[in-house]
Symmetry: C2
Subunit: 340 residues, 2 copies
Amino acid sequence: MASNDPAAPTITNVAALAGVSRATVSRAFSNPRVLRADTVTRVRAAAAELGYVPNPTAQALSTGRHGLLAMIVPDIANPFFPPMIGAAQGRAETAGLALLLGNTDEDPAREHTMVGRLTPQADGFVLAASRMTEKQIRDLAVRRPVVLVNRDVTGIPRVLVDSADGVRATVEHLAELGHTRIAYLAGPARSWANAQRKKAVKRSAERAGIEAIMLPGQVSNYEAGMQAAPALLDSRATAAVAFDDVLAHGVMAGLTQRGVSVPDDISLVGCDDVLKAQVYPALTTVSSHAADAGAAAVDLLLQRLENPEDPDRRVLLGTSLIVRATTARAATGCTTRRPS
Amino acid sequence: MASNDPAAPTITNVAALAGVSRATVSRAFSNPRVLRADTVTRVRAAAAELGYVPNPTAQALSTGRHGLLAMIVPDIANPFFPPMIGAAQGRAETAGLALLLGNTDEDPAREHTMVGRLTPQADGFVLAASRMTEKQIRDLAVRRPVVLVNRDVTGIPRVLVDSADGVRATVEHLAELGHTRIAYLAGPARSWANAQRKKAVKRSAERAGIEAIMLPGQVSNYEAGMQAAPALLDSRATAAVAFDDVLAHGVMAGLTQRGVSVPDDISLVGCDDVLKAQVYPALTTVSSHAADAGAAAVDLLLQRLENPEDPDRRVLLGTSLIVRATTARAATGCTTRRPS
DNA sequence: TTGTATGCGTTATCAT
DNA sequence: ATGATAACGCATACAA
C-alpha cells in the first residue's frame, strides 16, 4: 500500500522539522505569497535539508493537474518528428511539465486507444499529424485541452506549417530554370500537409504558366520513393517536388538505379529539410522548421491550460525554399534517358 | 480541488449502481479471483454502463505504481535514438505502461535534474547513453529500477550494442581491399560506444597486420565531420571508420569539398546504420540495431519491476558490417590528391 | 498569517 | 466472499 520509494520525505516531515503545520508547508510551495517571507524561507530550508520534493501524484489527486503533457506522433522514425518532439519536451520542461510520448505507426485505431489510455494522466495533448477522425478529436478536446500540429480542425487550437510560400518559391525557381512540366509526388492521403502541398504546386504552376502533374502516393518512405521513379519518368516531367525529403531520396535512388541523373536529367525538390545539408548530393528542399512547430504547439497548450477560455488560435508557420544541389536547368533538346 | 475531468465516474458510483461496497468494485478490477464470478460480472456491467475507468493517479497514490516508464536520451535529433525510443514505447505500451521521454542535450546536469524531477512519477528508468556519473546512476538505482543502454556500470542491468564483431569485420574488409593504414574518427569522449569502437579498431588492425591511426573528436555531428576532413587527409590513411554515420557523412562532405573522392581516393565506413540505404552514395556501415536495444532495455526493466531481486543482467547485442558503396580498393600508386 | 479538518479515488488490512 | 475503514501525500475551505 505504501509508496515504494525508500525514505521519500513528505510534507509531514518537513512540517515537523520546520515547526509549522502541514498546510503551511504546502503553501510555502504552492502559494508562498500568502505566507510571511521568513516562514517561507524557513520551510524551504527544512525541505532542502530533507531533500523534500512535492509528490506530483498526490498533487494530481488533489488538484486534478498531473504535470504531464502527452504528445502523439504517427511515426517517430520519420525524421520530421524528432526535432519537433525535442523542442516540445524542452518547452514543457521549462514550464515544469514532463512529456508523455506516444507513437501510433500511422494507425488511427492505435492512436485513439492510446489517447484514451493517457487521458486520465495527461493535462493536455499535442496531436501531431493526427490520423483520428474529426469527431474523435473533438470528443477528446472536451475532456482535455488539445493542440493540433498539421491538422486543421475548426475550433481546436492548431499550428500549421504553411508550405504555400516555400512551394510557390520552388515552382518559380523551377520555372526560371526552364522547366515547363513538373510533377508532384504525393504522400499519405490523409495528411493535411500533403493536401496543402499538392494544392500549392497546382496553383503556383498555374501562376507561373507551367504544367503540373499530380502523381499518386500512399505512404512516404524510401521504398515508396524508389517505386515511384518509373511513374515519374512516364510523366515526362523534367522536375519533381516530393511530399517530403525521405520520399525524395527514394525517388533519387530509383532514378539513379535507372541511369537517370539528378539534377542533370531531372531536378528534384524535397520538403521539410529533415536531412539538412548532410548528404550528397545535398537536396534542394522546402524548409519546415519542425522544431518551431513543436515549441509553438506546447506554448499554445500552456496558454489553454492556464486559461481554458482562450480564443481559438490558428498559428501559421512559414516555409522557405533552400536551394542546394538537386535542381538545375531543364535538360534541353534530348529526351530523358530510359533504361533498356 | 476536484478533478478537472467532467463527469468522470468513480468507484463509488459503480458501487452504488451495483449494490456492493467500494472495496468490492476495486477487487472486481484489481483482484477478481477472490470474488464470486457473478458479482464480478455484475460490477463490471455497472462499470461499463457508467463508463467507469480506474483512475491511475489514485491507484498510484495507493500502490506506489504509476504505470509510467521514463526514458532519457542525450539527443533525440541524433537519428540513432528515434528507432530506439519507438521500440521502447511500443514495448511499454504492450505491457500497459506509458513512456515519459526526456532529452538532455548531452548535458549531465540537465540529465540529473530531469531524473530527479521524474523519479516520483516514474516506475523505472531507461537511461540511454547516460552522461551522469556512476555515483548518480547508482543513487538513482536504489530508488527506482534502472536499465542502461550503451553504458557499462557493474550491478546495473544494461544492454550494450557490441560493435566488436562489426568493427572486426570492417577492418578485415578494408584489409582485403588492400588498405594498410586506416583511421578511426572518434566521437564523444564520454561515450561508451566510442571507447569500445576505438579499442575494436585498434585490436582488429593489429590482428589484420595493418596500421590504425586514432583521430580525436569531441562531438558527433555533420559539422564536426566536415572539420575532421583535413586531419584525416594529413594522416595519410586510405580508409576511415567514423564513430557514427552522421559523422561519416560530414567527413564525406569535407572530403568532397576538397576534391577528394569517396570511395575512389578514400574509403569510408560509418556506424549505427541510421540512414539505411537512403542516400547516395550509400554508406558502408556497422549496423547497430538500435530498435532492438530499446526493446531489450524495456524488457529488462519490466523484469526488474516484477522481480526486484532479478540478478544483474548484461545484454550484449551483436553488430554486423553492411557493405554498400563507400568502400573500395585502396588507391594504388598515386597519393591522395590535396586541394591547392 | 497560520492551523484544523476534510476530500481527492484507490488499495489493502482487518473484520464479519 | 464481502464490507468497513484507514492509509497514500497534498491542497484548500474554514476557523482562529
